[in-house]
Chain length 84, copies 2
């Protein structure tokens, strides 16, 4: 088993409305020292396969076909567990 | 400036409907090797303060008062950038 985490964020050029709203809320709760909050999602994908290259190719396909909207979002992957 | 990432996930005992739906979709796209997908959120909080203990206390307060629903969710923090 291999577990890979896919991080999905808005592209830097795209306005992040949820992040902006949370930053405002945090500031109005009295935390003026908070300058910016950026929001993202992650997906921990557990695959029944130990060949890391195969798993990465699978995860790339899943991310690009289903999880990431390339008009607005971008993604990174990170291996969490190998041969578990 | 210090940037801390807050990871928010469902507690292990709580059903993750979005993760279950995505796992089903991925399986029906032909990726039978995918056993489980867990979904979470993250918040990158940039604070205008270099004292890491102060920043951690701030971020803990923000997470617990605003970002995390302790009935269903749990969180972890990770320092991304120090003295940037």
């Amino acid at each position: 088993m291999t577990t890979i985490r896919i991080y999905v964020t808005y592209k830097p050029s795209v306005f992040d409305p949820q992040g902006a709203a949370i930053t405002n809320s945090v500031n109005s709760l009295g935390h003026d020292e908070v300058k910016k909050i950026v929001v993202g999602k992650f997906f921990d994908v557990t695959v029944d396969e130990d060949d890391l290259d195969k798993v990465k190719a699978d995860v790339k396909d899943i991310a690009e076909s289903l999880l990431v909207n390339f008009n607005m979002e971008t993604y990174k992957i990170k291996v969490l567990e190998e041969n578990a």
